[in-house]
């Protein structure tokens, strides 16, 4: 019993450790980002602009200010912010799959490399991927 608790604690601690992958590890596919582009233009561009550079009063989703603000956090945190509050006039309407595609598009515009596997839509999995403004 005691060892079982210890094992659970260990797993918990491991889970709380730093994310094991980063956005530089090819965490989305080009096809997914392509899907995300259309979805972004449909749902996001009126505030954040076609170029993801933000509006007069809306934050950018690409470039230095965006990367600085999210550097050191995880894709899980970015995904949850998007999933639960965006688009702001119909928050929560978009499915996890759609939000994952839009997140993949954001990664592609920020010039993070694509890979062979779609970005997952599980928040827990996405929390394992760290956002790093520069490749380490």
């Amino acid at each position: 019993m005691r060892s079982g608790i210890a094992a659970a604690l260990l797993i918990g601690l491991l889970g709380a450790q730093e994310a094991t992958r980063s956005v530089w590890d090819g965490v989305y596919t080009e096809d997914q980002a392509d899907r995300g582009r259309g979805l972004y233009n449909q749902h996001c561009a009126s505030c954040h602009a076609d170029t993801l550079t933000g509006g007069e009063m809306s934050p950018p989703l690409a470039g230095g200010e965006f990367l600085s603000n999210w550097n050191g956090l995880t894709l899980g945190e970015l995904f949850e912010r998007i999933r639960t509050t965006m688009p702001q006039n119909k928050a929560g309407k978009l499915s996890r799959e759609v939000n994952a595609d839009i997140t993949a598009y954001i990664l592609s515009v920020n010039k993070f490399p694509s890979g062979k596997t779609d970005l997952p839509h599980s928040t827990e999995f996405l929390k394992e991927i760290r956002i790093e403004s520069e490749k380490k």
């Binding site: 392509d34 899907r35 582009r37 259309g38 979805l39 972004y40 233009n41 449909q42 749902h43 561009a45 009126s46 505030c47 076609d50 170029t51 993801l52 550079t53 509006g55 007069e56 009063m57 809306s58 934050p59 950018p60 989703l61 690409a62 470039g63 230095g64 200010e65 990367l67 600085s68 603000n69 999210w70 550097n71 050191g72 956090l73 945190e77 970015l78 949850e80 912010r81 639960t84 509050t85 702001q88 006039n89 119909k90 928050a91 929560g92 309407k93 978009l94 499915s95 799959e97 759609v98 598009y105 592609s108 515009v109 920020n110 010039k111 403004s133 520069e134 490749k135």
Partner: protein
């Protein structure tokens, strides 16, 4: 509309106890900007340069449950009177009362406004509320997203039945205009805090973002005075003159009849002794295109002085003729009794998005230093009307960039500068008041501007030290706004031109908070799929190797002497952003602190410090992802300490004394962090036992 009005009567007793914790006047913060003069100053010094970095969180108030969804844009500055903190909070924009020493919730009052709230142009928590007392009664006043003025008993949070109708005044009625298309959905609202002076409440108006108006016609942003005891409307000032009023002829082709907006969406300042109100008026309909409102457009982008009791205009000064840059007048005017060349002047100083600090005699409206009308570039957008001149203050000098010149471009290396020059070749650039262009694929795509929509100094405004006669102003120094104009489809707008970029779909641009308040529907989840759309253009089109096109400093705090009309010191504000500090292209380059871009940073002045939070999150060897609340020596601008916050500031800081301790409250939110008020104070061992001065 009024079907749910909530107050937690069970907490009344706690509120009454808290009122016993009375501090003296200078230890309180009874109005949005500390006082009606707009100073954001309190002469407290328990927290100073020797201990600022030792500040600890005294309490925190998360606003997630004040509404049916979290908010990520908490912009409020609380009040503190008699040991109670009052604030607006949450996606519901409720009024809350908290124990100033512990943060315990004493009462909360929220209004459910249904369709009217969902249609409101300015949703979410707003910037604050107002406090009034006659020595017996105490009242809290705030404006709901649906544009209703609510009057509460400050002790209980219950509506005051004798005010308006059961404690509320419908601001969409009795406004010398019919709000169109109807009272429920008609576009008009307000996110700033009301002002109360000598029993008169003053209320302005705000609208949707104006880059892509649906129509050249809109409701007008008149300013009104109301009796704080009854809610009765006392006067209305027409920010767009009616046919028989002076200024009507500055709207050619009778465009004053249909043009709207031109409200006062930011904080209003009052000189109670003189009985004068200072109104910072915003842009008319169409931020960037004025072809449907030819002429100078009084009182658009003017500072207007009216009588507190009657609303009669005393004087005005138009800071921008025929506005085309969304310069508005974005923050509270500051009242300052100064000495210029041995002459005492009762002055009013107006910070601005365009980085000019305009200084006037507040009795006469005459500039303290000459303001010259200088010829400016005339544009070529079809149908547009251009003012041949614009006003330029001769003193003080501009305290932030307000145009884009090649000298402003990134120059860390010659190659970077060459890249920047190649980028700006696709745009039109020039000094302040360089007009917008019609966007063309082959160029120019837009006019690149600084000191326009974002500022410069935006709504948080500046601070003023009445002892030294110095204004302290944060300004974004690199908030680049491309202003291009395109012809919209008729389905989008009846304007000839709206903001847009050639080659891109013309979209109705919305602002933060629109459709995001607690009255907006929370739809059931429904997956949507899509593919295609416009090909991605470079998201980093205005960057060079991931670096800003404009060189540092990206954001500054300036100390400006109002006696001399000179900048005393200027420093970059904010740590170097991660994407710049870690940028591989800058390896080997010694980079001093760059400051940060952002428009939501406000300053607080105490006896010895300038205090301001960072508007961006950073991650450094010294701290995890978060931002710093910074203090500077107000005499020199030198660092005087910093304390970590979990998220960037989104509202301006305030301070007060209660039970012999000084507190600083700041609103933080943004990114993955929902709104929270954090109160800082010194650990017990650091208290000096000093009370308010």
């Amino acid at each position: 509309m009024f079907r749910m009005t909530r107050a937690f009567a069970g907490t009344v007793a706690m509120a009454l106890c808290a009122f016993a914790q009375t501090g003296n006047k200078n230890g309180e913060w009874p109005s949005y900007a500390a006082d009606l003069a707009g100073t954001r100053y309190r002469p407290l010094d328990q927290i100073n340069a020797t201990n600022f970095s030792k500040l600890e969180v005294a309490w925190r108030f998360k606003t997630d449950s004040i509404g049916n969804r979290p908010e990520y844009k908490l912009e409020g500055t609380p009040l503190m009177v008699h040991g109670v903190v009052y604030a607006t909070a949450g996606s519901r924009r409720a009024a809350i009362a908290l124990d100033a020493a512990t943060g315990e919730l004493l009462w909360v009052h929220g209004e459910h406004e249904g369709e009217r709230g969902a249609a409101a142009p300015r949703q979410l928590s707003g910037r604050g509320l107002a406090y009034w007392t006659d020595g017996k009664q105490e009242r809290i006043l705030y404006v709901t997203p649906g544009y209703r003025l609510i009057c509460l008993d400050a002790k209980t949070g219950q509506p005051v039945p004798s005010f308006g109708t059961n404690g509320a005044v419908d601001l969409k009625l009795d406004d010398d205009q019919r709000i169109l298309p109807d009272v429920t959905t008609g576009e008009i609202g307000l996110q700033s805090a009301p002002v109360v002076a000598k029993d008169t409440i003053i209320i302005g108006a705000a609208f949707r973002e104006g880059m892509t108006p649906k129509s050249m016609r809109n409701n007008k942003g008149y300013v009104r005075g109301f009796d704080v005891k009854t809610g009765k409307c006392l006067w209305i000032f027409h920010t767009i003159p009616t046919k028989n009023e002076p200024g009507y002829n500055t709207w050619l082709k009778e465009s004053a009849e249909y043009t709207g907006n031109t409200g006062v969406w930011t904080q209003i300042t009052v000189d109670e002794q003189l009985g004068l109100v200072y109104l910072p008026v915003e842009s008319p309909t169409g931020d960037y295109y004025g072809g449907h409102r030819q002429g100078n457009n009084l009182y658009g982008e003017s500072l207007v002085c009216v009588d507190l009791k009657t609303g009669q205009m005393k004087w005005y000064y138009q800071l921008v003729h025929h506005p085309l840059w969304d310069m508005d007048i974005s923050s509270a005017p500051i009242l300052a009794d100064i000495n210029v060349n041995g002459r005492a002047v009762k002055a009013v100083a107006q910070p601005s998005k365009q980085g000019f600090l305009y200084v006037f005699d507040r009795v006469t409206g005459k500039p303290v230093w000459p303001i010259e009308e200088r010829a400016v570039e005339q544009g070529s957008v079809p149908g547009e009307w251009y003012s041949p001149t614009q006003p330029f203050p001769t003193k003080p000098p501009a305290y932030s960039r307000n145009g884009v010149m090649t000298d402003d471009l990134i120059d860390f290396t010659p190659a970077m500068r060459d890249t920047a020059l190649a980028i700006v070749a696709k745009y039109h650039i020039g000094p302040v008041f360089t007009p917008p262009v019609e966007s063309k694929i082959d160029g120019p795509l837009a006019t690149l501007t600084l000191g326009t929509a974002s500022g410069g100094t935006n709504w948080p405004g500046a601070s003023y030290d009445p002892e030294t006669h110095i204004v302290y102003a944060y300004a974004c120094n690199a908030c680049l706004t491309p202003i291009g104009l395109v012809r919209p489809p008729k389905s989008l707008s009846d304007m000839d031109f709206v903001a847009g970029t050639a080659g891109q779909e013309v979209r109705n641009r919305t602002g933060p908070g629109e459709g995001a308040g607690a009255d907006s529907p929370l739809p059931s989840r429904a997956p949507a799929v899509g593919r295609g759309g416009a090909a991605p253009t470079a998201g980093s089109g205005l960057t060079v190797q991931g670096l800003p096109l404009i060189k540092p400093p990206y954001g500054t705090i300036s100390a400006i002497s109002l006696d001399k009309g000179e900048i005393v010191w200027q420093i970059p504000h904010g740590d170097t952003p991660d994407a710049i500090r870690n940028n591989s292209a800058l390896k080997g380059i010694n980079l001093p602190r760059t400051g940060q871009t952002g428009y939501n940073v406000g300053t607080l002045i105490t006896r010895s410090l300038v205090i301001a939070g960072e508007g961006q999150r950073t991650t450094t060897p010294e701290h995890p992802p978060g931002a710093l609340l910074r203090a500077y020596d107000k005499a020199t601008g030198k660092d005087a300490g910093a304390v970590f916050m979990p998220a960037p500031v989104s509202g301006s800081p305030m301070t007060y004394m209660v039970n012999g301790k000084q507190y600083i409250i700041v609103a933080v939110s943004g990114g993955n962090y929902s709104g929270e008020y954090i109160a800082f104070t010194l650990p017990a061992a650091e208290e000096h036992g000093q009370t308010a001065q």
